[in-house]
Symmetry: C4
Subunit: 314 residues, 4 copies
């Protein structure tokens, strides 16, 4: 009984997600799950957020934050008294607020030209504090930029569809992947699991998970494309499956890829899923690499989806 449970291979989603037409894994690899009821900011991993934001959003936030911080400090300087900012009064080209604002910017960035400089205890104290804040923020930005840049994000591109194609004298479920980056991934492992609904004797629905055996689940190198094949043998849970039966059982094919990014020898991880409507029956991938006369091999990344129809073995 225990062994039976152990072999169920559930991946962590459990058996109780039985609503149909809902993906477990979204197209971007994230889970279709929200955590609620814990509204505290505490649960947000800010570092994680800040390094996964888009670059445009990240830089926008940096500039906004810089602007607001200068507004605050400028207000403080005005509050203490503009007369404690020496060098402001000799020309009236500019409103004192903006003079204070730019003095704040010069302090926060530690440029400190000195045309305007603080006098008096409080203005000096605020400026000394602002300079320290500036340095800590620079330190933070340095860490964030390093974190953003050095994070090894694999750019594995999956074919848009998985195909049911002839494979040797049977058929196979196939998809293919390619690495879009100019760095190398090595030691790739791939796992594919079929998630589908099953009806219990009681009539209740339960979600089941079936690992799918692959023709090859590991490669050492990944310089070319890789076509991953689940041969539909008699032992396969897909034996006798049809487009209709996959639809009825709300079938989803969950894919995990683990690899090592060679630049930093760092583990990377990619998730993907093909929902049943993304399966093409009776199609075959076209080759996507050529060898030139000089022996150079060229892979055409944009051809990853090229396929033609093919009659299935029966």
């Amino acid at each position: 009984m225990l062994n039976q449970e152990e072999s169920r291979k559930d991946l962590g989603f459990g058996t109780k997600i039985t609503s149909e037409q809902s993906r477990l894994i979204n197209k971007d690899g994230s889970f279709n799950v929200r955590r609620v009821g814990d509204s505290s900011l505490n649960s947000v991993n800010w570092y994680h957020r800040l390094i996964t934001f888009k670059w445009t959003k990240f830089l926008g936030l940096v500039f906004l934050f810089y602007f607001i911080l200068n507004l605050i400090f400028a207000s403080l300087y005005l509050l203490i008294g503009v007369e404690y900012l020496e060098g402001i009064s000799n020309d009236h080209q500019q409103h004192p607020f903006w003079e204070a604002f730019f003095f704040s910017a010069q302090t926060l960035t530690t440029v400190g030209y000195g045309r305007i400089s603080p006098t008096g205890f409080w203005t000096n104290a605020v400026a000394a504090f602002e300079a320290l804040v500036g340095l800590l923020l620079i330190a933070l930005a340095t860490g964030l930029l390093y974190g953003r840049f050095s994070r090894s994000v694999p750019r594995i591109r999956f074919s848009g569809h998985a195909l049911i194609a002839p494979y040797l004298d049977i058929n196979g479920l196939m998809f293919r992947i390619i690495h879009e980056r100019d760095s190398e991934l090595i030691d790739l492992d791939v796992e594919m699991t079929l998630s589908c609904l099953d009806v219990l004797p009681s009539g209740a629905k339960t979600r089941k998970y079936y690992p799918l055996e692959l023709e090859r689940s590991h490669v050492n190198y990944f310089p070319l494309n890789w076509t991953i094949v689940h041969p539909i043998t008699e032992e396969s849970p897909l034996h006798n499956a049809t487009a209709k039966s996959l639809n009825e059982t709300d079938a989803e094919f969950l894919i995990i890829i683990r690899a090592t990014d060679e630049t930093f020898m760092q583990q990377v991880h990619a998730r993907y899923s093909y929902h049943h409507e993304e399966i093409l029956w009776g199609a075959k991938f076209e080759p996507m690499f050529d060898t030139s006369a000089q022996g150079n091999i060229a892979v055409r990344v944009s051809d990853i989806d090229r396929h033609r129809s093919a009659s299935l073995n029966t």
Copy 2:
């Protein structure tokens, strides 16, 4: 004989901790052990300390350090002679000490407005030294902030109690966990060990460790809550155990969780323990997630402790 020893599975606490009512693992996951007799500062890992301090404490220390450093350098400048700080004398709004203090702050942060500037060999030399010290400290702060931010601290929340609940046609020891962060943990492994006192034939007490077999000890993904179950089969060391017997043998359930933080594909580790008085007999966890009509799944983090009483199988 050797094999017998090998199978004892001791975790590293040894058999000689026989005082009752003492936890091996505290509620925060730390060990209930102090290292003494090596008073040198050498044994303190300062980096470790500085990145594990609370943020408030860390920032407080930074500001204190900045203040003290400026006090020291200000004293040095006064010692050499306030007349070597050019620009100080032209207004007497402020005591020379504070002028020196803020000059020091401007140097340490490399703002260097220049209203006050060093003249003379020694003041210049001290200022040049201070600027270098400032830069090294900024470098340090950068490293510390990066270390603090990028350290992957899993926020696994454990249910407050472990329950003895009905499980299939027997009973089980159950607790549940959830990840409180918005980043993902993958590839979780969990181990549970029972630590309890045993009486040797000689009458002496010895501490023994029993690994507890789990219904499932690994999940690939952790988007929802996970209920970890030790089925109390006939082979279980808990077979025939009662609240009283656990109390008498000073039972403690030690839990290790290993996982991978997906943001950086970094290994993380969590420890927890349930002391015998934290076990509830005859209770059952209530579900803590819902699926909406649109197929979205929502987990209520705050419901982790919700349970109701349930009669045990006998």
Copy 3:
């Protein structure tokens, strides 16, 4: 049939690279493959590029970028009006453009001497922006320099040739390696695969891969040189092979080395290949280390290629 496929051990190059005289792995360890058809800049991993450039190229780029950025900001300041740069006009030793250029440099690096300082809203705004840009670039440079420095690049030197040498009472394919760095590599694993062309019954060529069994494929430490030996037993795919047969089948020996860099306990990885013309038949490596009278051991790195001819066992 599936098992047969599984055991093919293909490494990730596939069977269809059948042009002769083309290496799969270049002498620098890179793959002889280009990815084409995805012209977007998106596919370039800039961080990867910037940290793998040569130091001279990297520093050259930094200086060029600094120069260009100052050109741009100088132009902006001139556009707004040179009269808003206070302090410029009092001597005419220098063209206003260069004054603006150097003012820009002082702002970008946050030196901010203040002899020239911005007045007016727009000049101040541009300067405040430039200082922020400067800081972000410094943050970036910090990350890149750290990334460059801390990246653990093993410097494993391979003997220029692989030798077919007498080994015990048979022969062996041998090459040797040494670590050129003063840091230590530990836990080395080595794999060697023979890649060669085979003719199918249909007359078509296919590329096959044969793992080669090694005398020893793991060492804990690597303080000396290490000679890696594939003994040519009767089970070896090289049994009965000759220089001619290797040439005809376009044989290439692919080598993977995995190790741990002890300084950071980081995984490192090296690739190498010997093409058939880099095999010497009937030669033997000369020893490359000595033990002094005092028991000190000295390895002569430059002797890695030293060998003498030796008659093979038959």
Copy 4:
């Protein structure tokens, strides 16, 4: 024959180090091996050097480098002409060289007070260059300081001697270890290998390696001390060994410890060796931890070497 070789378990030192009285592993864990004959600076891993230097040496180098760099730039400024450093001439308290020197320091650290400021193209150009150099050096220092601090160096202390002590009804070779830091090591694995000289039938000496089976080679946690025991059973290579026989065969006990530093979940590694004269025959370790009445456990680090004589089992 191959299998025989494979089982030799050589660690990477080979069989040819046959000089007596030479350690393979020094007391600090480094190898007793020099790499020679490759005089190029290329082979030095500067990052490795700079982060493994002692702190005092590292900081000394930083200050020296700062001093020399300022000397060089000061000379350059003087060469171009002291008259291009505006602000120097108004007082003659100080020699122009030192004024240039401190101006350089203010530029390199980007303090830039501005009392002295560059005029003229070349002085400005050098200053702009120096400021960039300064920033790159700060970036470097930041990386180095982070590297130094964040490098997880385990501080495992080994007992000064290994003991031959009574163990159950036989004897055992024992040593003990403790972690001197306040951070935690988890998942420790230990391996012990006996390295000794053997005489071949030909009369030549060869070095052999025997793995020693341990009572326990893994612990999950390491909060206390850990006594590692090789039981001298009849299968042990130490069966019938004496102090004299170990001396004659130049015996050395090589120890590898692998663990995970919990603060960063980083792999760490320690090496140690006991040479035959560091073995005590007939001694037993004294306990080194106490449990207080309140159930707190205290380990006395300084007691690691405490032992008393004990008669061996025969």
